[in-house]
């Protein structure tokens, strides 16, 4: 008996990181992912290194490009897609993103608020004298 793992036909789901298709198709998948990632990375570095863009728009552009590149990595390298065979992985990812947004957004919001309400440091030193 061989120890090959045959993918059963009509399997309900796939593990994350698994991809179907011939070797050529899979190579093409990683190649497309690499190309898109290089394009997005190069754009990010270009946006920072030139001064042709309106300054306040740069942080937004960098963050949008970063999120797009993470999406490319998730789809082309991790193979977490929205297909019906991938529901558990996507649900876990959605929960992870929710927690990350709560932690980062909540920290920034609360700390900015505290900072805003705090007496400036030099005045605080004066009061303690």
């Amino acid at each position: 008996m061989s120890h090959e793992i045959e993918e059963p036909h009509g399997a309900a789901e796939y593990p994350p990181g698994e991809e179907e298709g011939s070797v050529g198709q899979r190579l093409l998948g990683y190649g497309v992912g690499l190309g898109l990632a290089i394009l997005l990375t190069a754009t990010s570095f270009f946006v920072i290194s030139t001064d042709i863009f309106w300054l306040p728009s740069i942080p937004v552009a960098i963050i949008v490009l970063a999120i797009a590149q993470m999406g490319v990595h998730v789809v082309f390298f991790l193979h977490i897609t929205t297909g019906a065979d991938n529901t558990n992985n996507v649900m876990a990812l959605a929960f992870g993103i929710l927690i990350v947004l709560l932690v980062v957004g909540g920290s920034l919001w609360i700390m900015a608020n505290l900072d805003h309400n705090m007496v400036p440091m030099d005045q605080l030193m004066q009061m303690q004298r």
Partner: protein
């Protein structure tokens, strides 16, 4: 259904469970990183009179680190294809290239840290630098652990071949390595590029 098909089905189900479990671990690791990111975002401008990101960061160095890590993610994908095809030769080649690229990334990062500490910008200098070393250093430690795991997988495939349990470990390793690259995307965008722009 024959006994053999049942055994295959069982192994396949186990592979799905292992992958899903490891995916949950990666997501929890991302939550840990999000806490470090939140701390860095809050403290990024608190330089206590010390050097700021714009004075310290060398974007050429960061571009090379990014290129090495992205290329290693690609070769790790090639290793996954070779593992699925049970081609030991190309698996070992792709893993070796991944290892070299990972080591090149670590070497650049260690050189950068050493250069900064030499200029008096160590983790004790300011809150900004403490959060910087905690975040980027934590990623570097992950890459180091990933390289140790990578070498283990090369040895295991060489000694034991593509057994189902080894293949499950390969799957987990690939997930781990790709996840490290995703975290690096956030680091070079938020810490370095925005650190220079601010």
């Amino acid at each position: 259904m024959t006994a053999a098909t049942l055994a295959h089905d069982e192994l396949y189900q186990k592979r799905i469970r292992t992958g899903f479990g490891f995916w949950l671990f990666i997501l929890s690791d991302m939550v840990i990183f999000s806490c470090l990111f939140a701390a860095h975002a809050v403290l990024a401008t608190r330089t206590a009179g010390g050097p700021s990101g714009a004075e310290l960061f060398d974007l050429t160095n960061v571009a090379f680190e990014t290129a090495f890590l992205l290329a290693s993610s690609f070769t790790c994908g090639l290793a996954s294809i070779a593992a699925a095809e049970r081609n030991r030769f190309w698996f070992q080649i792709a893993m070796a290239v991944t290892c070299v690229l990972g080591l090149a990334f670590l070497a650049l990062e260690i050189r950068e840290f050493a250069g900064m500490i030499e200029r008096g910008a160590g983790p004790t200098r300011s809150a900004f630098l403490s959060s910087f070393y905690a975040l980027v250093g934590c990623h570097g430690v992950h890459v180091f652990a990933g390289i140790l795991w990578l070498l283990t997988m090369m040895a295991q495939v060489q000694a034991k071949g593509f057994r189902p349990d080894i293949q499950r470990r390969n799957l987990c390793f690939a997930l781990f390595w790709h996840a490290l690259d995703i975290i690096w995307v956030a680091i070079f965008s938020i810490v370095y590029l925005l650190g220079v722009a601010l």
